[in-house]
């Protein structure tokens, strides 16, 4: 079954059409690479899936349920990692995750256990300082931990590796391919080597439309044929 489906979604800001009749779907245990230049509409698409932006036409469903702008109940099934994750600087990572758990309505005992697991998974164990003193890479790790907290069926990552050094990038990608066992992942990026390393299916977004999509191998064959 598909976790995420977009059918004929369009979005314009003023007279400028950002997304034009976009349709695609992401299945279970898939890493879906969403590729495009800066300004191609990747972040806009993700925000629409999260119900943070209103769609002009079309429909988005998450786990079979339609997404509503403003009050998206479907967000309970989604974990979101923003491109520049920002958290409350006055909290420690554990406090922040506990706060997220309460907001997401996760049962306390389970949540504490889950936080321990996740902090280990993203390599933040033993870090007890406040988030305001975190580096970019540490924030990215905490971002993954908070996104995975509620065992989401779908993980949305907006440019998770763009601002990291090669080592940090590899670590983040390893975490993501580890997570794949439990959740589907929608990943936006403009770094093709990352895509090749972990994605199962990819789609190129150009001028608000899908220029090309398929599995990695299909796309490779297509590009070779094009010469």
């Amino acid at each position: 079954m598909d976790i995420l489906t977009l059918s004929d979604v369009s979005k314009a800001f003023g007279s400028k059409k950002i997304i034009d009749n976009l349709s695609f779907s992401v299945g279970e245990h898939n890493i879906f690479g969403f590729i495009g230049q800066n300004g191609a509409g990747k972040t806009t698409t993700m925000k629409m899936i999260l119900g943070l932006l209103k769609i002009d036409s079309g429909e988005i469903t998450v786990n079979g349920e339609s997404v509503k702008f403003g009050n998206a109940k479907t967000n309970r099934e989604i974990g979101y990692l923003p491109d520049v994750p920002e958290f409350y600087g006055f909290m420690t990572p554990k406090e922040y995750l506990t706060f997220c758990g309460k907001i997401a309505g996760i049962e306390k005992k389970y949540c504490d256990k889950r936080i321990e697991e996740l902090i280990k998974l993203v390599g933040l164990n033993g870090v007890n300082k406040r988030i305001s003193g975190f580096s970019r890479g540490m924030k990215q790790r905490l971002g993954i931990a908070q996104a995975l907290l509620g065992n989401p069926k779908l993980l949305i990552c907006d440019e998770p590796t763009s601002a990291l050094d090669p080592l940090g990038r590899k670590e983040i990608l390893d975490i993501l391919s580890d997570v794949k066992k439990h959740t589907a992942i929608l990943l936006s990026t403009h770094i093709l080597s990352d895509v090749e390393r972990i994605c199962d299916k990819i789609a190129f977004l150009y001028n608000g439309k899908l220029a090309l999509s398929g599995t990695i191998d299909e796309v490779k064959v297509f590009i070779m044929e094009m010469g």
Binding site: L52, N75, I78, P85, E86, M91, E95, I103, L149, G150
Partner: protein, 257 residues
């Protein structure tokens, strides 16, 4: 309910750890002490100056101070109190828009109206605590030095001034959901306040406006009666409710988080 309490806890933790809470606590204590202090010092200052005045050929009457002088000082300091509170909290939403911290909270399934409600509860609570502190300290000193019984309708006066603060805070919360930067929030609250102040210059309308509540200081010297303020009280309460509902409405439709 769980979401609201978690968010309120987060807000309180922020106020504690960023020093907002302690700063306002000490400041309000100082403001509370200053009211009777000013009243008490007035005759002393006049005494000192009367020598130089009499040299210039002016005669200075002996002034008497009592609890009323101190309460009048309370009214004069009131605008500073509320302005500082508004300045401390005008970034409550805009700081979160700018860093994008609310996106995480909303994508965790937090209902938007609960964010507005939690923030309102916290700011109202700070105002309530701060106001009680200032009022209590002033009242205590007044009782010690003079006699609070010489002023009339003190309780009603206190409620009026408290409500006026609640009204300004609710207006600020509404504006925080409309505008994205804290300077526009402060400017719009100031603008609306100025507008209402100007409308209040028109005869006969003034007593229907929230700001008329601050005229209730006249009650202390037995000028007018409580029933003069019934419209202003009702309209202020209605306006607070409308502001909060409008804030929830605007915030639910906001896409620039």
């Amino acid at each position: 309910m769980k979401q609201i309490s978690a968010f309120i806890q987060k807000e309180l933790l922020e106020c504690m750890r960023t020093g907002k809470c302690i700063f306002m606590l000490i400041l309000f204590v100082i403001f509370g002490i200053m009211n009777p202090a000013f009243a008490k010092l007035t005759p002393w200052l006049i005494d000192i100056m009367s020598d130089s005045f009499s040299n210039m050929g002016l005669s200075v009457e002996k002034v008497t101070v009592d609890a009323l002088t101190s309460w009048m000082q309370f009214c004069k300091n009131y605008p500073f109190t509320i302005i500082i509170l508004l300045l401390m909290f005008c970034n409550t939403l805009s700081a979160e828009y700018q860093t994008g911290t609310l996106i995480n909270v909303i994508t965790k399934g937090m209902n938007r109206w609960k964010i507005v409600l939690s923030k309102s509860i916290v700011i109202f609570a700070f105002w309530t605590a701060g106001y009680l502190l200032i009022f209590g300290i002033t009242y205590g000193y007044n009782a010690y030095f003079w006699d609070n019984n010489i002023v009339s309708c003190l309780a009603f006066f206190a409620v009026c001034y408290y409500l006026a603060g609640i009204w300004l805070i609710s207006l600020m919360i509404f504006m925080s959901t409309v505008f994205n930067s804290n300077s526009s929030v402060i400017l719009s609250v100031g603008g609306i306040f100025l507008g209402i102040y100007l409308i209040g210059m028109l005869p006969k309308i003034d007593k229907y406006l929230p700001w008329y509540l601050l005229d209730s200081s006249k009650l202390l010297i037995n000028d007018g009666s409580i029933s003069d303020y019934r419209f202003a009280v009702v309209i202020t309460i209605l306006s607070v409710i409308i502001n909060i509902v409008a804030a929830v409405f605007c915030f639910s439709r906001k896409s620039t988080l």
